[in-house]
Amino acid sequence: MNAPVFIAGVGAISAIGNNVGECLAALEQEQAGMGEMMYLQSVHGKTLPVAEVKLNNEKLAQLLGLPAVISRTAMLSMMAAKEALHNAAIPGLTSLRTGFISANTVGGMDRTEKFFAEFLLDNKKGKLRDVLHHECGYITELVADYLGIRNYVSTISTACSSSANSIFYGARLIRNDILDVVVAGGTDALTKFTLNGFNTLMILDQEFCKPFDENRKGLNLGEGAGYVVLVSERVAATLQHAPACKLAGYCNANDAYHQTASSPDGTGSYLAMKGALERSGLEITDIDYINLHGTGTQNNDIAEGTAIKRLFGPLYPKMSSTKSYTGHTLGASGGLEAVFSALSIRERMIFPNLRLQTPMKDFPFIPETTLIKNVHVNNVLSNSFGFGGNCSSLIFSKT
């Protein structure tokens, strides 16, 4: 039950790159991905900056060799999951027990909302194929089928912590000897439903977001997908290239304070980080970098910061929010940020927190504002905190 679980491969697509290499280059060059809405059609197009993947649906479909009628959520997932598997290059994969655990928050809503416009006028109208893949789980199956994974397929949806939860559920399936290999992570495409939903909560910044800045005004929504390929020790030993890191710790805890707001003292966040540390057997001083949840909302950043102060104070690791690059990718964020955490270890880099001008006065620590290269990054803590008080933390460690 305590067997190590290794990261054999990574795959990603986001506003800053269509694959891991491009994302890494953008992270290094401090190139953020938010801007004026280009692909989604919304009345808020001119007022709300978003972080879209820079490929329209036709182009995505072409790259995948598929007809352009499937949900963008599925296509983003396919791009990243396919890259992760290819990156892992596992010999004899077809004879291994392989699973696909994905996550998303609104499934095929990008097509459902088109259907709904016609359906509302006449409930016999609207193309059924636009609503066929509405369910979160259907999106996962489109991708599992595309990848040829059949032994175990499932989907998790716990708002912004979804794909972090997928990753450690996948690890537990390996530890419980149910599977040998798990492609785990998540995806979400930008939709009017989500954009308008977040807008009603008044937590969207009309400028580019400034996580952990005293004058932050909210988040920018993004889209994308991020997956890691988890393998058992036995499978790791067969790989041509030794895995760069392993999943050393994980924990999910519930804030149980409010449906959308975090408790002021960050209870859920604190318990999640503490639990992940305990499982990893590491000390707080062993953590070299925290990839913050850091959405840029008033509420998250103060709650997360308070939890960090409680747990780490006064010895703080370096930290940053890469949502300052990719925006908040919701169901994809845990997976995408897991990939960035693994890159941080492999590349020996700590990515900066962009657009931080005025540090939050409540805290004695300041996230990194410039890229740091050629440093030992042995242990990374990655946070993902979602609505419903769902708080997850993952720890990745250099092997």
């Binding site: 998790i156 708002a159 537990r172 999910n252 805890a253 519930n254 959308t260 008080g389």
Partner: protein, 354 residues
């Protein structure tokens, strides 16, 4: 390590809520949509919280509260939920307003309530439960995934109990859309006659069933969960039969050791063929009963079957009205639940007496 079903709570289209024993008379529904028999939610949920909750959230919370009350547990160590469709009503409301008002002047409540983890989150919030909380949203595997997660948590030894449930609803909108896919019976039918006519389509159902699982026995447990497996898109009936045989072999069980099979027959002639074929092979000579005439077809309906199985092994007898044609004197100690949805999601569960 054994896993016990300590208690249950079930809001369904039958009189299952507030009645730990199996209800005497089945509730008859006409048409192709079964609606839940709902309790007075105000006795379980504070008025201040209820005002924001849509139907599915109330169903889930009520079933969870009943389950915890029966076990005498105030706060479970972990909460795991399975729901394929999530909160459809809230989703529909927000979508409708978004379209009708062209993305202007929208109100937040329906959006907040529409997220799939709302049921699980609401339970945690009401109980101030800081423990592990997860939600699976995978079509016909949603409940089984939740169950597997719960069983792994108990095996990992870090929790002593887990509240696990399966929840799905039908709304006017969802029923209208799913009907267009040709899923349901076109001619009106009574659910109690679901299996006596041979035609295409099934009847829609809904429900919320929760269980408190524990890794230590108490003197009041319903049953044990011995094993669970799922398989996805089997190539043909041969593979399906092989999966069933492999499952039984892994438990060192011959088919003869099974006292009862609960099958997920749903009245659709095409889909039900799989059950017929298995009954002619691996399930040959084993008594079986169905459940979807009572609760209807929906992605997390297996939760109703588990409730049914737990009740049957607790009393040892199959209640009248289920069409049981086996030996009525025999004690039912081992039940195999087998369900498939659209020949895509197959699950096998072994429930036995404590």
């Amino acid at each position: 390590m054994k896993i016990y079903i300590r208690s249950t709570g079930n809001v369904s289209p039958q009189n299952t809520f507030g009645h730990p024993a199996f209800p005497a008379e089945p509730v008859e529904h006409f048409g192709n949509r079964l609606k839940c028999v709902e309790p007075d939610y105000k006795t379980f949920i504070d008025v201040k919280l209820i005002r924001r909750m849509s139907r599915i959230i109330k169903m889930g919370v009520a079933a969870a509260m009943e389950c915890l009350q029966e076990a005498g547990v105030a706060v479970p160590d972990a909460i795991v939920t399975g729901t394929a469709y999530g909160c459809l009503d809230d989703t529909g409301i927000f979508l409708t307003k978004m379209v009708e008002q062209q993305e202007e002047l929208l109100a937040p409540t329906a959006f907040i309530q529409s997220t799939h983890n709302t049921v699980g989150a609401q339970i945690a919030l009401m109980l101030r439960c800081n423990g592990y909380n997860n939600v699976f949203v995978h079509r016909g595997f949603s409940f089984e995934s939740a169950l597997l997660d719960a069983m792994m948590l108990l095996k990992e030894g870090e929790v002593n109990n887990v509240l696990v449930g399966g929840v799905d609803e039908t709304t006017n909108t969802s029923h209208a859309i799913l009907s267009r896919f040709g899923l349901y019976k076109k001619q009106p039918v009574s659910n109690l006659n679901l299996f006596s006519e041979a035609s295409k389509g099934t009847i829609a159902g809904e429900g919320a069933a929760f269980f408190l699982l524990a890794n230590e026995a108490s003197h009041n447990d319903y049953a044990q969960i011995d094993a669970l497996t799922t398989f996805y898109k089997p190539a043909n009936i041969k593979e399906t039969a092989e999966q069933v045989s492999a499952f039984l072999a892994a438990q060192s069980l011959s088919p003869a050791a099974i006292d009862l099979i609960i099958t997920g027959r749903n009245g659709d002639t095409t889909g039900d063929k799989v059950y017929r074929q298995l009954e002619q092979s691996v399930f040959n000579n084993i008594a079986s009963v169905n459940y979807k005439n009572l609760c209807g077809e929906y992605p997390t309906a297996v939760a109703f079957a588990v409730w049914m199985a737990a009740n049957i092994v607790k009393s040892g007898k199959v209640p009248a009205g289920l069409g049981f044609d086996g030996d009525k004197e025999k004690q039912i100690k081992k039940i195999l639940i087998y369900n498939h949805s659209q020949n895509i999601h197959h699950s096998l569960l072994l429930i036995s007496a404590c």
